[in-house]
């Protein structure tokens, strides 16, 4: 998919921005603090319905502005579409896709494929297992939208269960409700764990193939290890006592362990900084491959300050992997970061200017 035309009003530091993009490599450059990432986030916002650095819309609003609005014309599977996402304090978020008003963020998630790589991406390896669970879940939900509704159900069950546990099951019907929710969380966990297992098995194969293609032999023996949290065979009474004591759910797929290992040693602990970074970016390339092949809709790739995280050789290899297929937005301090960019934008004084 490609974004051809984009417009934003009152988004972060920008009053008004309007741009025509190239369908290939777009370089966005400017000094530190000029608003390159804000510009990228504005494009991300109109395609996904939320920012990549914050989920709070109010943080994206320009200071003292009454509302924010972003709109884009994009082409997905050869069909031209329009989308707009607006937000104001009283009315909340309003998403319109192809003239259909009051659409949900989930519809944007289904409609638009976007991959973002930022300096925070290595958290996928360096951070806790929740980053990796979310990563795997997101990829699978793209292929199977019904999985998203399973995850939503799980999240509500989990939050409701925690609410009861925090008040120590003190209300008259809490124990009955707790028991129903325990049953629910087990059933949903079984589905989630089975789906995660399948996706991870496929992911391992894709990871290996991409390492071969990019000539990264040192990463080829990295394994994605999945240890589903046990959900059965736990004494019910003991579990309840323990959960009341801790005030949180101690069973369920939110406790699944997902790690990257080389020779059974965790990359999170024993991997070098560079290894962790490259592995994280290769995982994002796996996501690109999954989305491209499973949804038949080539994702837009956003690279925020990407080259500062990698050496030249790896940066060029990874860019070469996606450049022939996808529309790319790359932010950098200098416009000569790559050879022959298709379009260059300069961000300066809270404005964006296209350059030939």
């Amino acid at each position: 998919m490609f974004v051809d035309h984009f417009k934003a009003t009152n988004f972060r530091c920008f009053d008004n921005v309007e741009c025509e993009f190239s369908r290939y490599l777009n370089v966005v450059y400017g000094n530190n603090g000029s608003g390159k990432s804000n510009f990228l986030e504005a494009i991300f916002y109109v395609l996904q319905g939320n920012g990549f650095r914050t989920k709070k819309d109010s943080y994206l609003l320009k200071y003292n502005a009454p509302f924010l609005r972003t709109e884009a014309k994009f082409t997905s599977q050869s069909i031209e579409k329009t989308v707009s996402v607006a937000w104001e304090k009283e009315a909340g978020k309003k998403i319109t896709i192809n003239g259909r008003e009051n659409e949900k963020t989930a519809s944007l998630f289904e409609e638009c494929n976007v991959i973002i790589m930022t300096p925070a991406t290595p958290e996928l390896v360096k951070g806790g297992p929740e980053h990796r669970r979310k990563f795997i879940d997101r990829i699978h939900a793209k292929e199977n939208p019904a999985y998203l509704s399973i995850l939503n159900k799980y999240s509500i069950t989990f939050r409701t269960r925690n609410l009861l546990l925090r008040r120590r099951l003190s209300n008259p019907h809490d124990k009955d409700m707790y028991s129903t929710l325990t049953h629910n969380i087990r059933n949903l966990s079984k589905i989630i764990q089975s789906e995660r297992k399948n996706t991870i098995m496929q992911m391992q194969e894709v990871f290996f193939n991409i390492c071969e293609q990019l000539n990264l032999p040192s990463l080829k023996n990295i394994r994605i290890m999945y240890a589903p949290s046990p959900i059965d065979a736990i004494d019910e009474y003991q579990l309840m006592q323990k959960e009341i004591q801790r005030g949180t759910s101690l069973i369920g797929s939110h406790l699944d362990r997902l790690s990257l290992r080389r020779d059974s040693r965790s990359l999170r602990i024993y991997g070098s900084e560079g290894e962790q970074k490259i592995t994280a970016f290769v995982l994002k390339l796996c996501e690109f491959y999954f989305l491209e092949t499973r949804t038949k809709n080539v994702p837009i790739v956003m690279l925020d300050d990407f080259q500062s995280e990698l050496d030249n050789d790896n940066f060029n290899k990874m860019l070469a992997f996606i450049r022939p297929k996808a529309q790319i937005f790359l932010t950098s301090l200098h416009h000569e970061v790559v050879d022959n960019p298709d379009k260059v934008f300069k961000v300066e004084n809270e404005e964006v200017h296209g350059e030939v």
């Binding site: 939503n152 159900k153 809490d174």
Partner: protein, 203 residues
């Protein structure tokens, strides 16, 4: 800043509290009532007052009635061995229109949503269990919405009734009659696949 007189503005604000009535509609309604002939306005108030005085929940099933029990509970031809559980009294009207259900009902007056402070004590769920204990129902049909809170309410009822010798069923979900498969969303289609039925070939 309001451009209306205080009385007019108060009326707009009151109408605005009604479900489905936005500020513009509230203005239209206020204007309508302001211009309504006095005898028609009195009649309107009388109808509303009478409705408030006379309409109340049935003591058995919590359907709306003007007597002690509703017309369905007092109908001796209804099958008293099957109870259909609904969220709102309005759902009964929708089911009755189908003409395909001849049992009795139980209105929960809501569905469980503990995150919004609606627990079992806030709805008529204990009354349902009391009825099931007291009367010899053979089947409970759960006709609750296919929403997060509807699903949770179903799960809760199923869980609480697991030791009762009673058949529990839930309405099927899937593709609406007369609609095209190509326009169905993924979740609906998935539910339709899950609930597909075996077709018996008759001789």
């Amino acid at each position: 800043m309001s451009y209306f007189t205080p009385g007019y503005q108060r009326s707009i604000e009151e109408f605005n509290k009604l479900p489905g009535v936005g500020p513009k509609s509230a203005e239209k309604l206020t204007d309508y009532f302001l211009k309504l002939k006095p005898e028609l306005f009195e009649q309107f108030l009388y109808v509303l007052n009478t409705m408030r005085e006379q309409v109340h929940p049935c003591k058995n099933c919590f359907n709306l009635t003007e007597g002690e029990v509703c017309s369905i509970c007092s109908d001796i031809t209804r099958n008293k061995e099957i109870v259909c559980v609904v969220e709102k009294a309005k759902d009964i009207a929708a089911i009755e229109k189908t003409g395909s259900y001849k049992g009795v009902y139980h209105v929960l007056e809501g569905s469980l949503n503990p995150l919004n402070g609606i627990g079992p004590e806030s709805i008529r769920i204990e009354e349902l269990f009391e009825r099931i204990k007291k009367f010899s129902f053979k089947e409970v049909v759960l006709a609750l919405n296919f929403s997060q809170s509807g699903d949770l309410t179903c799960m809760y009822i199923i869980h609480q009734l697991q030791n009762f010798p009673i058949k529990i069923t839930r309405l099927a979900s899937g593709i609406p009659t007369g609609s095209d498969i190509e326009f169905a969303d993924a979740k609906t289609l998935q539910a339709a696949f899950k609930g597909r039925e075996k077709i018996e070939i008759e001789d």
